[in-house]
Amino acid sequence: MLFGFGCSQENQTKGVTVWHWMTDRQESFLKLAQQYQEQTGIEVRFELYAPSELYSRKTIAAAQASVLPDIYGILGEKKRLASFIEGGFVANLSPDFEANEGIWEKNLFVKAINVNRFEEGNVYGIKPGIYGVPLDVTNIQMLYNKNILKKAGIDQPPLTFDQFIKDAVILRRMGIDGFVSGWGEAWIIECFASNYAFNIMGEEKIMATYRGEVSYTDPDWITVFNIFKILKDKNIFVEGIVTKGNKYAEQDFALERAAFAFNGSWCVNVYDKMNPDLNYGTMLPPRYNLESPMKIWGGAGSSLVVNPTSKNKQAAINFLKWLTAKEQQAFLSKQTKNLPANRHALSFLPKILSQFASSMEDATHPSIWKHNENLLVSEAFAKGIQSIIIGEKTPEEAARDIQAVKVYEMEKDKKRLNR
């Protein structure tokens, strides 16, 4: 509650206040705010609160104290967005998206909007609608260092998992680490594993697992876990990958310490700052099952929501419409090297971002799935994979542990429902 004190918008009714956590975009936001004020006479105050953990706590505390600003972002899973909506802290923007024959909605990428959309009969019990405005689009895929591959005599990035292993073994013989990623952060491990789960067993079986109808000890899941064992056994990971934060993983790839990386499209900006000469390309994670497509996580990168109790609600919505218009999106994309949420702003993209954008068709996202895994099971899932990578457990043992957590959490959920 203390975080919320002194933050009320009551004494700032003129103009629109925006809270966000995006340190890399503050300068661009301020420029856009100035431009908006010149055009409309409405002042927009962008207030930056970082790091993201602090920001997250601030928004929760502000919600409890009812002092949320006109526009703000909600970090975390869709479940948290649902909690904010349920608490009456997020406006349903569907009428605004649908106005003028849905022009606002049509201008933005469907996948980006869907992250903020709640469908009829959603598991959270939220009234159907669009509750957030996407600012940009991200997807997470693999990257390869062109110079290193060329030095190793590898002409093309691998398309299949077997080829990837062969290439990585060649690189290892040359003393080059094969693969780096920030697997000290559980969600990135989950994301990589989820890509292969989609490739190996398809969406329906994954959803059935989340519903508790398929066990994590199923042979398909064991195959997914076994991928990590193969990568470990072939010595493809950089040392210490399991406790490596993504910032350090980005540093490793930017400084050419590893040939392949698994990272999101935001990395373009990061690598540009760390090593402007880095020569790299994007690729989908190499397919394990050649008969099925590979899916990657992608959709809205960051979204903003509107406070329904704000005195400036309409002004806030108008500003968000302006912010997601073609010109502003192109400006943001150019300045921050992120994929724009507006589909018409794509023509202004640098080449590497275009490569990321071209894979959006292969993207999916937990926020648009019908079911999501329990967060403690997700944690056990990531920790189980870590234990495979450090050689502490076999894929079968890790699967049993994850399933045990799943069963326990399902029992807890049943108890909660019976209360």
């Binding site: 953990e53 997250s56 706590r57 929760i60 919600a63 409890q64 975390g76 479940k79 948290r80 909690s83 904010f84 349920e86 608490g87 009456g88 802290f89 003393g175 680490d177 000290g184 952060e185 559980a186 950089v238 040392e239 210490g240 990958i241 399991v242 406790t243 490596k244 934060g245 490793d252 400084l255 310490r257 967060l375 403690l376 944690e379 920790k383 870590q386 234990s387 450090i390 502490e392 807890k412 108890k415 909660r416 209360r419």
Partner: protein
């Protein structure tokens, strides 16, 4: 009549005096109630509810959260991990602090300089310390050369067999964190123990020396007994500080190596910010607080008994 008037006047004056006294302490009581008693009450109250931290609805569930904690294996293993860090701090950190305090209590050259140097680690930010040690213990390699300072040093002195993946091996990660925690924490123990040593009357040492007591005998019969209250204080503060370590863990190993680096505070954070179970997080906080209070109380009792004997 006059007597009654005197009594009532006296009572009024007495009441006024008492009222004035209470009025003076009222601000302190209000602040204490608002910032100490109310949060404690609210934490305990929340621990009896299921609440996501955002919704206006809190569901009363009695002691269900506490029952769940009893079966939460990760929670109890996190308690063990913090206990391990605390044991290292109680032994290694405090022995180091006491040895240095003993050294600086003597008339050695540059002792003021050493005092400043030894007190530097505690005033450094825990995040900075964590990140610096993460770099020192880094197991990465570039161009065949270790990136981490420790592995680089080991390579340079040809101790290749000791080069290790310090923060990604379950056998070494918690010890590394505990040692860094001890390195960061020994300074304040040093200052408190040094202050304690300086309060011991020098005449006691001189008298013992005149009586022919040796160095060890003086240490055992004068220094240790006289320092006992300071030892208790340092031990209690070490337990409280070490059990609650988490910033160092986050900055050294991020979200952790499997469950090997989980400590109670990181579990509370997971419950609160990760799974959005504020009620459960508060119940964890209550249990953790009680364990710390009981632990500190027991240390005090045991130490008092040892002192008596």
């Amino acid at each position: 009549m006059i007597k009654n008037k005197v009594i009532s006047r006296f009572s009024f004056l007495e009441f006024k005096g008492v009222f004035e006294n209470y009025l003076f302490i009222l601000p302190a009581v209000v602040i204490f109630a608002l910032f100490y008693i109310y949060p404690f009450y609210e934490i305990f109250n929340l621990s009896l509810h299921e609440w996501n931290g955002i919704s206006s609805v809190r569901q009363f569930i009695g002691i269900d959260n506490f029952k769940e904690i009893m079966q939460d294996k990760v929670w109890w293993s996190s308690m063990w991990n913090a206990g391990y860090i605390t044991i290292i701090a109680l032994t290694f950190q405090n022995m180091l602090a006491f040895s240095l305090a003993l050294s600086c209590d003597r008339d050695i050259r540059m002792r003021k300089f050493y005092r400043v140097i030894f007190y530097l680690p505690p005033i450094l930010s825990e995040v900075v310390v964590g990140l610096v040690w993460q770099w020192i213990l880094n197991s990465g390699v570039q161009g065949g050369e270790p990136i981490g300072l420790l592995n680089y040093f080991l390579t340079k002195v040809h101790l290749y067999h000791l080069v290790h993946n310090w923060l990604s091996d379950p056998k070494t990660v918690l010890t590394c964190i505990a040692l860094v925690h001890s390195w960061k924490g020994f300074g304040w123990g040093f200052i408190i123990l040094l202050a304690g040593l300086q309060t011991i009357d020098r005449q006691l040492y001189e008298a013992a020396q005149v009586d022919g007591a040796g160095v060890f005998s003086i240490f055992k019969n004068i220094t240790i007994p006289m320092m006992m209250p300071v030892f208790i204080l340092v031990m209690i503060l070490t337990i409280l500080g070490s059990m609650q370590v988490f910033i160092l863990v986050l900055s050294m190993v991020g979200q952790g190596l499997v469950y090997h680096t989980e400590v109670p505070v990181t579990r509370i954070l997971v419950s609160m910010m990760g799974t959005g179970r504020f009620g459960y997080a508060c119940a964890q906080g209550v249990v953790f607080g009680l364990i710390l209070i009981i632990g500190s109380f027991m240390i005090k009792k045991i130490s008092a008994k040892v002192k008596q004997e």
